[in-house]
Amino acid sequence: MAVVVRGDAVAMARQLPDASSGLAAIFLANRDRLLRFFTSRTRDPVEAEEIVQEIYLRLDRAARPVGDAIGYLHRIGLNLVVDRARERERRAARDKDWTDSNTTRLGDDYIDEQPSPYAQAAAKERAERIARALASLPPGAARVFRMHRIEGMSHSEVAGRLGISRKGVEKHMATALRHLAKEIDE
């Protein structure tokens, strides 16, 4: 697990090499802006601070700046927000499940690591909902979702392959997301 380094940007810069050029420099120049953005994204100033620190730690500092460096930095952070939120959810669900199913616990260690049949059943039901939602996607959206998310093509690649514009690809993805949200979480 990465250690979050606290302290101001200058102190961070002194700790790591190659900070004067490349992505690290771009990060440092935009740190305040990133902090403001992630405060809007999370509505939690403490979380936002931790996200921004973590972005810095995850930078490939040896790499030359990528084409859209600002976008790259934002996206690392956005992925972190989601990963951390899902981990919190998982932990909370696990805690609740173990409380419900009456297992033994020694301090912070759970002796019985198995999720209860109830939790397993809930997970299975969730999986079925997801499968049904994906299977019932309109064909265009399904195709784009598969190419972009599962096969890992960029929007431009998908657009090229299907002979549609990037905007068209975006629209299909938005349709897919709307459909999934409605079917799975309504």
Binding site: R166, R178, D185
Partner: protein
């Protein structure tokens, strides 16, 4: 005053996320402005971003259900396949409900009931009720179909011409003719015990076996092999009263019940699988049950991780 609709916010959140996760240039200031513009915006975006992550992970691991390539199954076959579980089979059910499906939620009215540490009574409108034991699960459809997922259930039903009840337990189908009986499903085995009335049980497409009060059936889902035995009617579903009453019951059946109360997989060593248990066990708490059994039969429990194995007790 123009109030934003919930659906508009959801739509905008989806649009933003599609753009942001696409890899093209984004106006990050404009995005932040939208997030801040109203209280509902950020939570809506958060929900869709998390859901996207969850669905993408699932799809990467399980593959995209390919709706286009499946041959159109007959409703009966598709229903049958769906009961067998599996997320891909579930996608066939979506096809059958309303083809072509472009919008609207699937409305098969299927409600899943799962218990943790308490029993639960579920009403089946117009037909009677089901008592679900602890750590068990079944699903009820609006048309009277029941899917037994695991655990034990005591059915108390009035025969209804308009809504015959059919229970799918893996590859077995149990049909009631107005009866009281229990269905226990555990690790690919079905245990059926009839207190009153008539029950049919069939395996896949086979012709059914008829069971009456005082009969029990134990069957293997994979092979369909089964055995009919006698059971005292007043012992059927004794777990409803916190007891397990066994009269010459196979140890495998006992193990199936134990797994519910001990919340672990309970296996029986083949060497002792032929043993039968007669006696009354009190379901006080899980581990105690094995002690009660050891007092009656030469059997003891070996625990490893999340499994318990009943083995013959060695002579000392």
């Amino acid at each position: 005053m123009n109030r934003e609709q919930h659906s508009d916010i959801e739509r905008d959140a989806g649009d933003w996320h599609a753009r942001v996760s696409g890899g093209s240039e984004v106006d990050w200031d404009a995005f932040a402005q939208w997030l801040d513009a109203a209280p509902g915006h950020q939570p809506a975006y958060d929900r869709i971003a998390l859901l996207d992550s969850e669905v993408t992970d699932w799809a990467k691991e399980n593959g995209m259900p390919e709706a286009e390539d499946q041959p159109m199954p007959s409703p009966f076959t598709a229903t049958r396949r769906w009961w067998l579980g599996g997320a891909v089979a579930a996608s066939l059910m979506a096809l059958v409900i309303g083809v072509p499906r472009l919008a609207g939620p699937p409305n098969d009215g299927l409600v899943t009931y799962a218990t943790a540490r308490d029993q639960r009574t579920i009403n089946i409108a117009g037909s009677g009720k089901v008592r679900l034991d602890e750590r068990s699960q079944l699903a009820l459809a609006a048309d009277g179909q029941v899917r037994m997922d695991h655990g034990a259930a005591y059915f108390d039903l009035r025969h209804n011409e308009n809504r015959p009840i059919q229970i799918q337990s893996g590859t077995f189908t149990v049909r009631d003719i107005g009866t009281r009986f229990t269905v226990t499903r555990n690790q690919g085995q079905l245990f059926l015990a009839v207190e009153q009335g008539l029950v049919d049980v069939s395996w896949q497409d086979s012709s059914p076996i008829h069971l009456t009060a005082g009969q029990s059936f134990q069957g293997d889902e994979k092979t369909g092999a089964g055995e009919v035995s006698k059971i005292a009617p007043d012992t059927v579903g004794s777990w409803r009263d916190g007891q397990l009453v066994y009269d010459n019951a196979p140890l495998t059946q006992v193990a199936a019940d134990l797994s519910r109360y001990m919340n672990k997989t309970v296996e029986v060593e083949p060497a002792i699988a032929h043993l039968r248990l007669s006696g009354i066990l009190l379901i006080r708490n899980g581990p105690d049950l094995v002690d009660q059994i050891s007092a009656i039969l030469p059997v003891e429990a070996r625990r490893s991780g999340d499994r318990i194995r009943l083995v013959g007790r060695s002579r000392r």
